[in-house]
Every structure is written in structure tokens, then in C-alpha cells.
């Protein structure tokens, strides 16, 4: 076994060496006792690496994207057809309230009492996230799913403020990435909603959370932190904010200022009366619940 481990390590070292441009003879001279075995193994490995490029046919590749989009649209349409009744936006709103209530129950009960206050890096933080995943996995309307995503985004942003207060802002990459992702998902859902009144109401909440995200990105940017993880998380936050801007402009092109100067939109204002969804380019097709606005939002 020890012999096998040694050979495995030597093989890997030789592969890395070859990748770095060293010659085979040079590498084998490092391991004279195993040179013969290694040479045979390296020969097999290099032939594996030299297997010719395999690419799909031009016909397949040419039609791949359109066929893929058609198929996911067909799946969503099929799912929508299985739903018994369209969900009115008031029902959707009630469901979102119920979901938040369930979330409160979850956060307030049992083991999760302790985990509710957990921050990234704490032992119970994983329990907290798992609980959230469980709630996400329940059936949701698109609207309630968007509300839930926004709730989670706000939770992540609160965690970053808590980390800052404890001098642990260097652990903020994970919640910042998560908040950005949750916000982008919410934006994508809002953009695909077919009910203007519901879309307008959610756009208000979306704008508020995006503003908070911008504040947190500033907080992290202005701290003396470095490293690729933090930098990447900041970029994710900025990108999410830009995506939200695009969605909000689509909901109401006249009222919202882009980027950091965005004015939070009060519920009921964002629609600006036109009540039209965004341009829908590329988003309405298969975003959860789009565009009929009546469905179960997610595939999970």
C-alpha cells in the first residue's frame, strides 16, 4: 500500500512536471527506482491526453440552443397546464405572507433557535442555511418565491452588518455572494411575472433590497480587505445591482435612477401607471412562473 501511494504520488508529480514543460527523462531521473514503471504509466496518460478533440456535428450545434430553449419552455408549459387554477395576485400575496410566517416559525423553533443568530464561520451557520433551503424547496408561486428570495437576501445583508460590528468583515464573501444571487433570482422572477400589479409591488421591494446591497458593497469596498474572494463577491454585488436596474427600468422606465443613486421605490409606485412588464427579452421564456404568472415558480 505504501509502495502504491509512493508510486501514485510520483506519477502525479511527473504529470505536473510534464505540464510545466519538464522533459520526461529529466523527471524519470528523479525517481530512478521506479523509472521504468513510471514511463509506461506516463505513456498511457499522455495518450489519454492526446485523444482527438471530439465535437458535436454542425447540425446539432447549430440547432442546440434553440432546441434547448424550446424544450425547457415546453416543460414549463406542461407544468403550468397541470396546475388546477391560476393564482390571483392576492392569493400569491397571502402565500408569501404565509411563507414568511413559516420562516419565522422555523427560525424560532428547536435547534434553529441557536442557529438563527449564527453568522458565516459559526458552527451552526450551516443549520441555518439548511433550514432556509428546506423552506425554498416547498411549492411556491412565483411571487412568493421572489419574496422569499428577497427575504433571504436581506438576511444575508444583515449578517454582513453583524460581521462588520464584530470585526469579521473578512468573512463577508459568502453572504455577499448569496445575497447577490438571491437578488438576481428575485429580479429574474419579477421580470417574468405576467401580473402588472404584482410586478409593481415586488419591484418596490426589489429596489429597496438592491439599495441595501449597494450600501453593503460600499461597506466591504471601503474596508481594508483584500483577496480574490472578497473582490469577486463585490463584483457579484455590483452585477446583481445592475441586473436589478435593468429589470426595474423595464417595469418603469421613467422613475428609477440606475446604480448607487437609485431611489428606493415605495410599494405601488414602481409601475408608474403603465403596468407593463419589462421588455422580456430573454427572460420571460422560462423564468419560474413566466409568463402566465400563475404557476409554481420553481423546478424544485
Amino acid at each position: 500500500m505504501a509502495n502504491e501511494r509512493r508510486l501514485a504520488q510520483e506519477l502525479e508529480a511527473c504529470l505536473e512536471g510534464l505540464r510545466a514543460g519538464r522533459t520526461l527523462d529529466d523527471l524519470l531521473s528523479t525517481y530512478p527506482a521506479d523509472a521504468r514503471s513510471l514511463k509506461e504509466l506516463l505513456n498511457v496518460a499522455s495518450r489519454l491526453q492526446d485523444l482527438p478533440e471530439a465535437i458535436p456535428t454542425i447540425a446539432f450545434r447549430g440547432a442546440a440552443r434553440a432546441r434547448f430553449l424550446d424544450r425547457i419552455e415546453a416543460r414549463d408549459t406542461h407544468r403550468a397546464s397541470l396546475r388546477p387554477h391560476p393564482v390571483h395576485w392576492r392569493t400569491a400575496f397571502a402565500l408569501s405572507i404565509l411563507t414568511v410566517f413559516l420562516l419565522s416559525l422555523f427560525v424560532g423553533g428547536g435547534l434553529t433557535v441557536a442557529s438563527a443568530e449564527a453568522l458565516p464561520g459559526d458552527p451552526l451557520y450551516g443549520v441555518k442555511l439548511t433550514g432556509e433551503e428546506v423552506i425554498l424547496a416547498l411549492p411556491h408561486t412565483p411571487a412568493s418565491l421572489a419574496e422569499l428570495e428577497l427575504t433571504y437576501a436581506e438576511l444575508r445583508l444583515s449578517e454582513i452588518h453583524a460581521l462588520a460590528a464584530r470585526g469579521r468583515l473578512d468573512e463577508s464573501a459568502q453572504p455577499l455572494n448569496s445575497a447577490s444571487r438571491d437578488l438576481e433570482r428575485a429580479a429574474s422572477i419579477v421580470q417574468g411575472l405576467g401580473e402588472p400589479a404584482l410586478q409593481t409591488r415586488l419591484a418596490g421591494h426589489l429596489g429597496q433590497v438592491a439599495t441595501r446591497l449597494n450600501e453593503v458593497v460600499d461597506l466591504v469596498s471601503n474596508s481594508p480587505l483584500g483577496g480574490p474572494a472578497i473582490g469577486s463577491a463585490e463584483q457579484a454585488g455590483k452585477q446583481a445591482s445592475q441586473d436589478v436596474d435593468r429589470v426595474l427600468h423595464g417595469v418603469n422606465p421613467n422613475q428609477l435612477a440606475p446604480g448607487k443613486n437609485r431611489t428606493p421605490v415605495a410599494p405601488g409606485e414602481a409601475g408608474g401607471g403603465n403596468g407593463q412588464p419589462g421588455n422580456g427579452q430573454g427572460h420571460g421564456k422560462a423564468t419560474p412562473g413566466a409568463p402566465d404568472g400563475n404557476g409554481q415558480g420553481s423546478s424544485h
Partner: protein, 185 residues
């Protein structure tokens, strides 16, 4: 020239994983060649590889909410889904199917190309004669071109465990190829 080795743009991955279908379609095209190559050498048939590649991306779309950016690179995540699609295919409908490989022709002179192609076919066939874990490690390492650390991360194994699996798999592959050569003589 497209090499099929490009890493998809981070912003595109974010939009796709946020549930934007059009962005996911773009991600599909960006990763198509790499996933196809991985699947092709696992199944050895071009049409089946195309079907399973499409299946991989449809499953990825269904599972996009579960993708954790920063934890696993998106290509690694796709390779895992592709691996499961291949396994499911052989387990469910075609447990005893053995496909004869139809390798893409390598470049170069015709005769040398044919000889090379035969040798490569033997290699690809021998690869599929390995156990599933060995196939996956070698495919990820040498066909998908992932680093040793990335393979370990993707499979949830220690680097040492992956090193040993890789060593045993290459050794077994050498034995299978020797056997094939002897049988052919």
C-alpha cells in the same frame, strides 16, 4: 479557432443560475464542446453523446438553484451531471450495451491517421472497461483537463485518494491495452 477549453464568463454563469433561460442557453453553447467531449469518451457514440449532452443541460437547468457559485466551478458541476446522465443511461435502459467507438478522425497524414485512430479506439474502449470511479477520475483529469485538486474537490475525495485512484486506473488501463494488443496478435 475555438478550442472548447474556454471557461464561461462569470457574469453569464450568474445570470444563468439566476434562472435566466436565455443566459442558460448561452451557457449551454459556451460549454457544449467540453461537455460533449467528456460524454463522448464515456459512451463512444456520437449520436448518443449528443443526446446525453442535451440531457445534461436540461438536468442542469432543472437543478440550477442548487448550484453554489464559488464552491465548484460551473464546468465541474456540469461534468458531474453529465457523469450521472451517462450512468443512468447504462443502468436503466441499456445495462448490457457495449458500443463500438467511432472516434473523430485525428489530423495528419491519412495512413498515420488511421493507425492513430485504431490505437485511440483501443484506448477509448479500454477506458470504458474500467470501473465507474476510475473512468470518472481519468475522464475528468485527462479528457476534461481538470487539475488534480479540482478533481478531488469535485468528487468530494481527498487529493491522496484521487491520486491513488488515478494511479490504479492508469495501471489497469495499461493492462487492458496490453491484453487488447495480445488478443489482436
Amino acid at each position: 479557432m475555438e478550442t472548447g477549453r474556454e471557461v464561461p464568463d462569470e457574469a453569464l454563469v450568474r445570470r444563468a443560475m439566476a434562472g435566466n433561460a436565455e443566459a442558460f442557453g448561452d451557457l449551454y453553447i459556451a460549454c457544449l464542446n467540453r461537455v460533449y467531449r467528456y460524454v463522448f469518451y464515456r459512451v463512444g457514440d456520437a449520436h448518443l453523446a449528443e443526446d446525453l449532452t442535451e440531457t445534461t443541460f436540461l438536468r442542469a437547468w432543472e437543478a440550477h438553484r442548487r448550484y453554489k457559485p464559488g464552491k465548484v466551478p460551473v464546468l465541474g458541476w456540469l461534468y458531474r451531471i453529465a457523469h450521472n446522465a451517462v450512468i443512468d443511461y447504462f443502468r436503466s435502459a441499456h445495462p448490457h450495451e457495449e458500443l463500438s467507438p467511432t472516434l473523430p478522425a485525428p489530423g495528419g497524414e491519412v495512413e498515420a491517421g488511421i493507425a492513430k485512430q485504431e490505437e485511440m479506439q483501443d484506448l477509448a474502449k479500454a477506458l470504458r472497461g474500467l470501473d465507474v470511479m476510475s473512468q470518472e477520475v481519468l475522464s475528468l483529469r485527462f479528457i476534461a483537463g481538470l487539475s488534480h485538486r479540482e478533481v478531488a474537490q469535485l468528487l468530494g475525495r481527498s487529493e491522496e485518494a484521487v491520486r491513488v485512484i488515478q494511479f490504479r486506473a492508469v495501471r489497469r488501463l495499461r493492462e487492458l491495452m496490453r491484453g487488447g494488443q495480445n488478443n489482436g496478435k
